[in-house]
């Protein structure tokens, strides 16, 4: 990105920050980091209150701004040991690394599905954390951040957080242990759908599969009578109401069990364990896309291409901007199909789309038109 592009981007960012709504609990106890060339060029910053933070963003306007997941007595002190660590939010970073710089955008919907499962199945149901202590934000690029701020979880150390990540990722999950033969003649006793954790999820998942696509488990279950008899057993924890042999049945559940953990936490497991991690400030702008790391109230309805684009007045959403592409860009499914564009194409786009390509480094400013 050349200097003129960066200046324009900063101008647009600054006007957004004048009115942006931040919700940063215990802001004064957090360390901040800012970046222009990289995501973090400087850290150990701290602010006394939200107004001071806003003033800083309006006056200095970095392309990236992050805050610590941790709370400190002296957030501005360095080195780290002098900060006096007092606890940290448990943060999960979900995204997908795909081929090419634009490849991941095609998978945003599947990452969103994982976020919903992570929050509902794991954080709320298994971990028992109440909804008011969970905040979900778009990352501003190709994923989501889930912030858990339950006071009982803040003091957890790195190893303990690792254990939570392993649980979510299903590391060491051996679903065959859920099944035991009991009685004479031997019945296969297994999980019931009303149980918690992976056991309940496996039972519910099996029933769902039987109802939606029974042939996947076995051709036997395409017959309604066979299927219903088997399901009635599962509901009581008895998995024997079928002519399938127990071992055969259990091994047929393998693909279903493999789908129970949350896959997209995998790539960024280190984020959760890092007790001094700096994470993008929710509702700040991602300097690689110009999209807002939007705080999400209703994840089911959230669409990044509609809701995270900077459309606010003053945010650059008004008028068109003329850009020239400096490389070939494949078609991207945003809220409308964008592209494909060829190198040296010159065209006027609504400002939030134009900014996206400029910040991505695929285009450069050719003079505003709107």
């Amino acid at each position: 990105m050349n200097a003129a592009d960066a200046t324009l981007a900063r101008k647009i960012f600054a006007s957004y920050y004048e009115t942006a709504e931040f919700r940063i609990p215990m802001l004064e106890q957090r360390e901040f980091g800012i970046g222009n060339q990289k995501k973090i060029d400087a850290r150990h910053l701290n602010f006394a209150n939200a107004q001071e933070f806003r003033n800083y963003l309006c006056n200095n306007t970095p392309l990236f701004v992050s805050h610590s997941t941790a709370y400190y007595d002296f957030p501005g002190a360095s080195p780290m040991v002098k900060k006096c660590w007092r606890g940290a939010d448990v943060v999960f970073d979900l995204d997908i690394h795909a081929e090419g710089r634009f490849g991941a955008y095609a998978h945003l919907a599947s990452v969103k599905e994982d976020v919903i499962r992570l929050v509902n199945d794991f954080i709320l149901n298994d971990f028992g954390i109440s909804r008011e202590n969970v905040a979900v934000a778009f990352s501003g690029n190709r994923g989501y951040h889930v912030h858990v701020r339950d006071p009982a979880f803040l003091p957890l150390g790195s190893d303990e957080r690792h254990e939570l990540v392993d649980y979510i990722m299903g590391q060491g999950l051996d679903y065959t242990q859920f099944f035991t033969p009991e009685g004479k003649p031997a019945k296969l006793i297994g999980p019931r759908p009303d149980e918690g954790g992976y056991r309940g999820r496996l039972a519910r998942g099996t029933i769902k599969l039987l109802e939606e696509d029974p042939g996947q488990l076995s051709r036997l279950f395409t017959k309604e009578k066979e299927r219903n008899f088997f399901i009635s057993g599962i509901k009581e924890g008895n998995w024997s109401r079928t002519s399938l042999k127990p071992n055969d049945l259990v091994s047929r559940l393998k693909p279903l069990a493999a789908g129970l953990p949350v896959g997209s936490v995998d790539t960024d497991a280190g984020v959760t364990q890092d007790l001094s991690k700096l994470i993008r400030v929710p509702n700040s702008i991602h300097g690689d896309t110009g999209m807002v790391a939007r705080i999400i109230n209703n994840i089911d309805a959230f669409d990044p291409w509609k809701d995270a684009m900077m459309r606010e007045a003053g945010g650059g959403g008004i008028g068109d901007m003329k850009i020239r592409f400096t490389e070939d860009v494949p078609a991207i499914e945003m809220d409308q199909t964008m592209g494909p564009f060829n190198k040296d194409d010159e065209l006027a786009l609504p400002r939030h789309y134009a900014l996206f390509f400029v910040l991505k480094g695929s285009a450069t400013l050719a003079g505003p038109t709107g």
Binding site: C84, F153, Q177
Partner: protein, 323 residues
């Protein structure tokens, strides 16, 4: 009656011990008992004395506080961890003999509150995470976990308390300017410590090993008490890369509960039986994996080129600046 002098004697870290000692001053006798207590820890001796008089009991309780003062003054991790391991094992023996009410009173000291749900006990998830050992039996994935409550049994509850005691003992507040008696006791103890400890890891640590092995060696360097699976993993790994049994024994001497006889026997047994090095998948289920190497077996580390190793090390470095 849970909270009497006998209770304070067995569990001298509890609040009731502090009130039992109200008005008592530090004396040569108490410091001597503290030194004795620490020397017993170095030998792994967790036996308790028969004390008939209340005054003797009070001195024994006070010796625990004095031992902590000596540790806070010395800041010697080997001694501190040896003390933590020995005291926690001693406490476990007491818990096994005491009734449920007493066990609950000790548990309450560490905020371990269990609830009865049917025939099972449950404990809050953060408490469970903090005080369960990193061992496959306690992996969260193998537990029933419903709405933030983890199912455990009574034996496991006592194990959580044992770990809580150990953690409590491992963190000793710094004692900046202790009385002369404490300083002198510290000097006596230092003379009893193994001399070579800082050089022990020299040869094995100088080698080039996967991140999980390096991390365990770092832990060992700090005299952390490693779980059984970690020890087994290290022994099989170092035997497989051709390290001598003597060197492996020397390495394990860093552990706070090291016994040369037991270690020699076990390392020799592992070699004779030809146990395989755990695969990465197994290392992961042990909860010992700390990087994304994708090499299948830790031994494959040695066939990677330097750039790949560096990339893994950088990616694996999640922490940094942790408290």
């Amino acid at each position: 009656m849970a909270e009497g002098l006998e209770f304070a004697l067995r569990y001298p870290f509890c609040e009731s011990a502090k009130s039992a000692l109200a008005g008592m001053d530090l004396s040569e006798r108490i410091v001597d008992l503290a030194v004795e207590r620490l020397l017993k820890a170095l030998k792994g001796d967790k036996s308790a004395k028969m004390l008939l008089h209340d005054s003797d009991r009070k001195e024994e309780i006070a010796s625990f506080a004095a031992a902590r003062m000596i540790l806070g003054h010395l800041r010697n991790s080997y001694l501190t961890n040896a003390f933590a391991v020995n005291e926690s094992k001693r406490v476990r023996d007491c818990l096994d003999k005491d009734d449920e009410r007493t066990v609950d009173a000790v548990a309450a000291q560490f905020g371990i509150a269990t609830a009865n749900e049917g025939r099972k006990l449950t404990v809050a998830l953060p408490t469970y995470l903090r005080y369960s050992t990193r061992n496959p039996h306690y992996r969260l994935i193998n537990r029933r976990l419903v709405r933030g409550r983890v199912e455990i049994n009574y034996e496991e509850k006592k194990r959580l308390i044992e770990e809580a005691v150990k953690k409590h003992m491992e963190s000793v507040p710094l004692v900046k300017d202790p009385p002369d008696m404490i300083k002198a006791a510290g000097a006596r103890l230092v003379a009893e410590l193994p001399k070579t400890e800082s050089r022990v890891l020299g040869t094995v640590k100088a080698g080039d090993h996967p991140p999980c092995v390096m991390r365990l060696l770092d832990e060992m360097n700090k005299h952390t008490n490693l779980p059984h699976q970690a020890r087994l993993y290290l022994a099989t790994y170092f035997l497989a890369i051709g390290t001598s049994e003597d060197e492996i024994n020397r390495m394990f001497s860093m552990l706070p509960d090291y016994s040369e006889k037991i270690t020699r026997y076990q390392v020799g047994h592992i070699r004779k039986k030809g146990y395989n090095v755990a695969s990465c998948a197994t290392v992961m289920t042990y909860g010992l994996c700390c990087a994304v190497c994708r090499i299948g077996s830790p031994l494959n580390w040695h066939s990677l080129d330097d750039s790949r190793k560096n990339a893994i090390r950088e990616r694996g470095a999640g922490g940094g600046g942790a408290p």
